[in-house]
């Protein structure tokens, strides 16, 4: 997934602070807490959000600021993208990498989903959403509320009515 960026054409003059290294085509990303990450354009382009920014020439001197993504999560997303652009054809390796990657606590998985959603990394979204779906499918209604931090806004009567209509799903 090579980045079809505006190579050089939008680089603001004054090369020493250029974030686009012509040799290895790197791009700088900044997490919400100000940490700096260097990634190849190819890996960064797995994020459709960043890909479009690069294409539209919205990447300035400094790099891309991602105010919605914290450093630890961004690091993980970058690890995922790096791994996937490195050897996209090695199915077995990638499968076991993915399995290990999502083997984290729910709140981390949710953070990754938020980041992947914001950054629009489809493969990562699919992977994480499938993982969450698999882990929640057998959960009870109460467990779901607890997991997602949802407040029950039904009255007891309303809830009883819905339960009754869908009773077979509770058996």
């Amino acid at each position: 997934m090579a980045a079809t960026t505006a190579d050089g054409s939008k680089v603001v003059g004054g090369g020493e602070k250029s974030n686009v290294d012509e040799e290895s085509k790197m791009i700088t990303l900044f997490s919400s807490d100000g940490e700096r990450f260097e990634v190849t354009q190819e890996a960064a382009a797995m994020s459709q959000t960043i890909h479009h920014m690069m294409e539209d020439g919205c990447v300035d001197d400094e790099g891309v600021h991602l105010p919605n993504v914290g450093s630890s999560i961004l690091a993980m997303v970058i690890e995922y993208c790096n791994r996937h652009v490195a050897s996209p054809d090695e199915k077995e390796d990638i499968r076991s990498f993915d399995a290990g990657f999502v083997n984290v606590e729910h709140h981390t998985l949710f953070d990754i989903i938020r980041a992947a959603n914001y950054l629009d990394v489809k493969e990562l979204m699919d992977l994480c959403c499938q993982t969450v779906a698999d882990s929640i499918k057998s959960k009870s209604v109460e467990e779901i509320r607890e997991l997602f931090g949802i407040v029950n806004d039904f009255t007891p009567e309303e809830e009883a009515e819905i339960r009754k209509e869908n009773q077979w799903a509770f058996e």
Binding site: N68, S72, N103, H107, R114, A133, G149, I150, I162, W168
Partner: protein, 408 residues
């Protein structure tokens, strides 16, 4: 305050693989706590209008849609109780359409007519067996066959005419398709024989179905087969070419797999024909008795994309044999499992052994369904030999397996 941290781990707690770094605190550098939302709120000022507020406990709706679309339909129905926003999401057509479906129960006949028995054996039926959308138009409805998600119904009482209409319907979407009458090339009408109509439907291609109607000319010899396609809305006629007498057992003894209709015959074989009526085959079903004619009748079904066949050997203690067709081209079967049915039902001897039957196999796993024909029906897992009783009365003694399909 951002999402409750403590409550969410029940699913994942046991999942940490040994040897892997614990990700949620293992940032490359000494980074602050893993939740970006716990940090200075000012850095949270969102510049992108479509991004949900990070600090909230809930995931953005896009993400929830992606997750719920991958949750099996049964769970989706349960999650309607979570909250009002979730009720809306879980009822959304596009999520429901994508949600993976699986066997949810069986249509069967009882004293009150057509009934539906949930797979779990408990609770009110998840689909209304009275098929109210059909009853609006017809007084009498008989379900002849259920092919995965569609029903083939013989309907009567629409007008003064005593003739039957044959309707293929989807109970989940309530869509109906009336089969046109068969008019032979010479202009003569042909009355459909309800025991010799075979419905073919594949959830992989949900927008269409086929109906195969072998037309017997003499003594159940099928010289011709009429094939109906819901795409063309026409019957076409092909000469049968099974090479010899083919006494079909009749519906619902059939399997539609990979675009080919498979029908059991009275002589322990499977007669197959494709959608165009070009490829005709007969596949022998393995027997347990040396003399072919002593074998009890075999039944077929499909599971995990493969044709399965099974027989109970009533002469020898009610032993059940389940085979799977491992090589479709050569017709080679492999014995998948064998178990003593009397032992399963905890019976030492039984007068009417022939009332024990295996009536279905689960389309996605190694679960089979058996009944004693009198008062007990169960599922049996061939993998771990676990038995689960589905019914302990004469109310449900087997039926037609049904998997809902919401695709249009």
């Amino acid at each position: 305050m951002p999402m409750q941290q403590g409550g969410g781990d029940d699913g994942c707690k046991d999942q940490r693989a040994t040897g892997n770094p614990v990700r949620d605190s293992g940032a490359p550098s000494d980074s602050p706590p893993p939740f970006p939302s716990t940090e200075s709120p000012s850095s949270e000022k969102l510049e992108h209008e479509d991004e949900q507020q990070q600090a909230g406990p809930s995931l953005p709706e896009d993400a929830l849609v992606e997750i719920l679309s991958r949750v099996p339909y049964r769970s989706l129905r349960r999650f309607k109780c979570v909250s009002k926003p979730w009720l809306a999401l879980c009822s959304a057509t596009d999520i429901r359409r994508r949600s993976p479906q699986t066997l949810s129960g069986f249509f069967h006949f009882g004293v009150d007519g057509l009934m539906f028995h949930n797979l779990s054996g408990r609770g009110p039926p998840m689909v209304d067996p009275s098929l109210p959308f059909l009853r609006r138009s017809y007084k009498r409805v008989t379900v002849e066959q259920c092919c995965s998600s569609l029903l083939l119904c013989q309907c009567a009482g629409k007008s003064c005419s005593e003739e039957y209409d044959y309707v293929v319907c989807n109970p989940a979407t309530e869509r109906c398709h009336l089969l046109p009458p068969i008019v032979l090339p010479d202009g003569q009408p042909h009355t459909l024989d309800p025991s010799n109509i075979f419905l073919g439907f594949d959830t992989a291609a949900p927008s269409s179905f086929l109906v195969f109607a072998p037309m017997s000319s003499y003594c159940d010899e099928f010289a011709e087969v009429a094939i109906y396609s819901s795409d063309t809305r026409r019957w076409t006629f092909v000469q049968s070419n099974w090479g010899g007498k083919t006494f079909l057992v009749g519906n619902p003894e059939c399997v539609f797999l990979n675009g080919i209709m498979h029908m059991t015959t009275h002589h322990s074989s499977v007669a197959t024909v494709d959608a165009e009526g070009k490829v005709w085959r007969t596949i022998e079903i393995p027997g347990v008795m040396p003399n072919r004619y002593d074998n009890a009748m075999a039944s077929i079904g499909q599971s995990q994309g493969r044709l399965h066949a099974w027989r109970i050997d009533y002469h020898h203690d009610c032993q059940l044999y389940v085979w799977v067709l491992v090589d479709y081209e050569s017709g080679k079967w492999s014995l998948k499992h064998t178990v003593n049915v009397l032992e399963l039902f905890r019976m030492h001897c039984r007068k009417d052994v022939e009332s024990y039957t295996m009536f279905a196999i689960h389309p996605e796993c190694d679960l089979i369904f058996l009944t004693d024909g009198e008062e007990m029906t169960m599922s049996y897992d061939m993998d771990n030999q676990k038995v689960h009783v589905i019914c302990t009365s004469e109310e449900f003694l087997g039926g037609l397996p049904y998997t809902p399909c919401f695709a249009e």
